[in-house]
């Protein structure tokens, strides 16, 4: 593979060190991109919703979504404001991750 991300594993290590306990929890990842962190979160959490305004990245994320995570992971090509406006009374989340997106 010509390019590999987080080769020193510091992002993953720090992410899970800073996360609260995730078992059974509902998570919103803002800026999920191609799902790189989303799958890792979904393996530990109860439910993950990933959003990203890039249609291209979301298409890739949907193609890469692991089969065993499909029942607990949603992916949407939306920015935060659009996501919020389309869900006027959204179910709340235990954790919101601003993933390189602020």
């Amino acid at each position: 593979m010509p390019v590999t991300l987080d080769t020193s594993n510091q992002e993953t290590t720090n992410l899970f060190e800073y996360c609260p306990p995730l078992a059974g929890r509902r998570i919103l990842e803002v800026g999920c991109g191609d799902g790189r962190l989303t799958w890792q979160l979904a393996r530990q959490a109860g439910e993950v919703v990933g959003i990203d305004p890039s249609e291209e990245k979301i298409t890739l994320a949907r193609a890469n979504l692991p089969e065993d995570l499909k029942g607990k992971t949603e992916i949407h090509a939306l920015g935060l404001e659009d996501f919020y406006s389309r869900n006027p009374k959204p179910d709340k989340f235990d954790l919101v991750l601003l993933s390189w997106s602020l």
Binding site: P2, T4, N14, Y18, K92, D94, V96, L97, L98, W100
Partner: protein, 140 residues
């Protein structure tokens, strides 16, 4: 950005947490790495001078001042991108980091070194800030 944080506040359950990851804005280091040595070739630049990260910090400061969140923990780590060669890194940047600037002298230097060191690779190292926030009120 401030409005985004306002929406986040509304999306969290009582006791919920916000976790933010964003680069510090320090220009990332580009290194040429062999089995025995790491040579710093220079730093990646941006067309807008990494202004968005200062804006992110400003938005978070506003949110804290407004009392929307409290900081629970903050730290930094190094995010690394490894590329087989400078051309691969350049392509990756053009696809994923559109306002990045890879200076020609860095490319040239990497291209001069590569034939001399079999098995070498290029490494981009970026300093990232990670912060966990909680909603104000009872600590959970």
């Amino acid at each position: 950005m401030v409005h985004a944080l306002e929406l986040v506040r509304d999306l969290l359950r009582p006791g919920g947490k916000l976790l933010d990851l964003h680069p510090t804005g320090e220009p990332p280091i580009i290194g040429f790495v062999t089995s025995s040595r790491r040579t710093e070739l220079g730093r990646l630049q941006e067309t807008d001078g990494f202004i968005e990260y200062a804006q992110a910090n400003h938005a978070l400061a506003h949110a804290l001042e407004a009392g929307w969140f409290k900081v629970e923990r903050q730290g930094e780590f190094i995010f690394t991108v490894q590329a087989d060669n400078i051309a691969s890194l350049s392509q990756f940047l053009s696809e994923n980091w559109k306002d990045s600037l890879l200076m020609p002298q860095i490319v040239e230097w990497a291209e001069q070194l590569a034939p001399l060191h079999s098995g070498s690779h290029i490494e981009l190292s970026e300093r990232v800030q990670i912060t966990r926030f909680r909603l104000p009120g009872r600590i959970s």
